[in-house]
């Protein structure tokens, strides 16, 4: 993660020069910021203040324990049970279930809707359009889900996760350090990462690499060493 970004604490006043001021779009506030009328912007969480001058938006990047759902997030939900029109899914343990309509799946009609069993995983943005059940079709590898922290999941989901997020384990495992392991992943913003591969050994190695990078807060060099060690132990 870039370290030159300003750190803010809850209730602090934000330096006016940091607030983007584009005339094209209205200013948009993301997680961790609150607008107090008429013109105060107050952080409600401790973390890094991130601004995007092009989209005229700002938010705070921080690592919390509980997932707060928000619109448009890609998440890995677990089917709890089915009701008449929708599935009830859990996003995180010990929280109220979320609903996922049967007709939200791509080209689903009343007759062709997918039948999902309790316990199955679904990648979804609230509408399962273009996404859907994970690792359940007979030929495909079942894979496994690993829990990571929310901040780490967000870093993995960044468009340039290696440069901006500072996460290179996945690339390393698939690249020359990892000897070109073949696997696929699906990251949910609710802190769950699904890893699928033909070989169970690869799934375990990828899952451990992700969890240990997250727990240890490893930098690039640490990640490279971890990947080399895990791949060496695997053989």
């Amino acid at each position: 993660m870039a370290t030159d970004l300003p750190l803010v604490l809850p209730g602090e006043t934000i330096d006016a020069t940091l607030i983007p001021s584009s005339q094209k779009h209205p200013l948009r506030l993301g997680p961790g910021l609150r607008h107090i009328p008429p013109s105060d912007i107050v952080p409600t969480a401790a973390g890094q203040l991130i601004t995007n001058p092009v989209k005229n938006s700002m938010w705070i990047e921080y690592n919390s324990n509980r997932y707060t759902p928000s619109q448009g997030d890609i998440i890995l939900a677990q089917i709890l049970r089915s009701t008449g029109d929708f599935y009830l899914c859990t996003l995180s343990p010990h929280t109220a279930p979320a609903t996922l309509p049967h007709l939200a799946f791509e080209s689903a009609t009343k007759k062709t809707r997918p039948v999902l069993q309790p316990g199955q995983l679904v990648a979804s943005t609230g509408k399962a359009d273009g996404l859907g059940p994970i690792g359940v079709s007979p030929g495909s590898p079942g894979g496994c889900v690993f829990d990571v922290s929310l901040g780490f999941a967000r870093r993995l989901l960044m468009a340039r996760s290696r440069e901006e997020g500072g996460v290179g384990v996945l690339e390393m495992l698939g690249g020359e350090e990892g000897g070109g392991l073949a696997f696929e992943t699906a990251v949910g913003r609710n802190g769950r990462v699904w890893v699928g591969s033909e070989s169970a050994r690869t799934v375990v190695v990828v899952g451990r690499a992700l969890q240990e990078t997250d727990r240890g807060g490893l930098g690039m060099e640490g990640q490279r060493r971890l990947v080399k060690k895990l791949v060496r132990d695997m053989r």
């Binding site: 316990g119 894979g143 699904w194 169970a200 050994r201």
Partner: protein, 294 residues
């Protein structure tokens, strides 16, 4: 009461599938424990055991009470187990779950019924006064294998505990404060430890795994807890439900359990010795120096 989150179908399938390929999700061997940490508190009788992400705290206390009328020559020894909502939101106060009942029963059988603590030594005046020793077990974090961690914590706490010294002179019982007389350790006879095996697979005890994590515990088809001391004397074997396990496999489990128990025993001995060294600053000579406070 929020229900405990079930693992997804993918996880359930994968754990068993990986075990069939001799793999565990955290890269351990089948008979390998997670790193065990044992720490003692500032007070005597407080032991904190960390087993991976599982954490259990045990605290031993003693007070003078009246013995039970049917056992006038014995002291009182109780183990109180509590799984609070801090462990997991699915545990509720004053409503014991199955896990909690099994945990306290197994601790009772392992430590109390095996005669690890000599309760007769707790008697002060026959039929009138005795020590009541109580161990409170608090589970601070639950990531599987509570049994082994809790048993280790209870044994370590009791061996670390010191009760106030007493004397009887002319029918008068005196309980000394720590300043008057050094508190004395309990009369401890042997140290039993629990080793829990989890079984996976269709066949009878096809795959046996030590120190299962919470995910593995949710997927397993059976489990067996063996309690024994380092001399190989078995205190109890609990195989509560689950799929049947081959007798030969069970015998093999107990022999591996013995090597693990020896390791636990060494760990407790070593940590107790380290703790004694830490408390004993300068030794006996430093205590006798003239410049000390009177």
């Amino acid at each position: 009461m929020p229900r405990e989150a079930e693992p997804s179908l993918n996880e359930k399938q994968f754990v068993t599938q990986a075990l069939q390929e001799n793999l565990r999700l955290d890269g351990r061997e089948f008979d390998q424990y997670r790193p065990i940490e044992l720490n003692f508190g500032d007070q005597h009788g407080v032991a904190d055991v960390t087993l991976g992400k599982t954490r259990v705290l045990a605290k031993a206390t003693a007070e003078v009470t009246v013995p039970y009328t049917d056992r006038p020559l014995d002291g009182i020894f109780t183990i109180a187990t509590e799984l609070s909502p801090m462990t997991s939101p699915s545990f509720e106060v004053n409503r014991p779950t199955e896990t909690e009942v099994l945990l306290s029963r197994l601790l009772e059988k392992t430590v109390r019924r095996s005669g690890a603590l000599d309760t007769e030594s707790l008697c002060l005046v026959a039929g009138e006064k005795c020590w009541s020793v109580r161990v409170d077990v608090h589970v601070l974090a639950h990531d599987g294998n509570l049994m082994d961690a809790a048993c280790l914590a209870v044994v370590a706490a009791l061996r670390h505990f010191r009760k106030p010294d007493t004397s009887m002179a002319g029918g008068v019982l005196t309980v000394y404060t720590p300043a008057e007389r050094e508190p004395v350790p309990l009369s401890w006879l042997h140290s039993p430890f629990c080793v829990t095996w989890s079984f996976f697979g269709e066949d009878e005890g096809e795959m046996a795994v030590l120190d299962a994590t919470w995910l593995e515990e949710q997927v397993r088809v059976g489990s067996c807890t063996v309690s024994l001391n380092k001399h190989g004397e078995i205190c109890q074997i609990a195989k509560l439900g689950g799929t049947p396990v081959d007798a030969v496999a069970l015998l093999q489990c107990t022999s591996v359990a013995l090597t693990k128990v020896k390791e636990f025993s060494d760990l407790v001995d070593r940590r107790l010795a380290e703790d004694l060294k830490r408390r004993d600053k300068g030794g006996f000579m430093a205590e006798l120096r003239a410049e000390n406070d009177r």
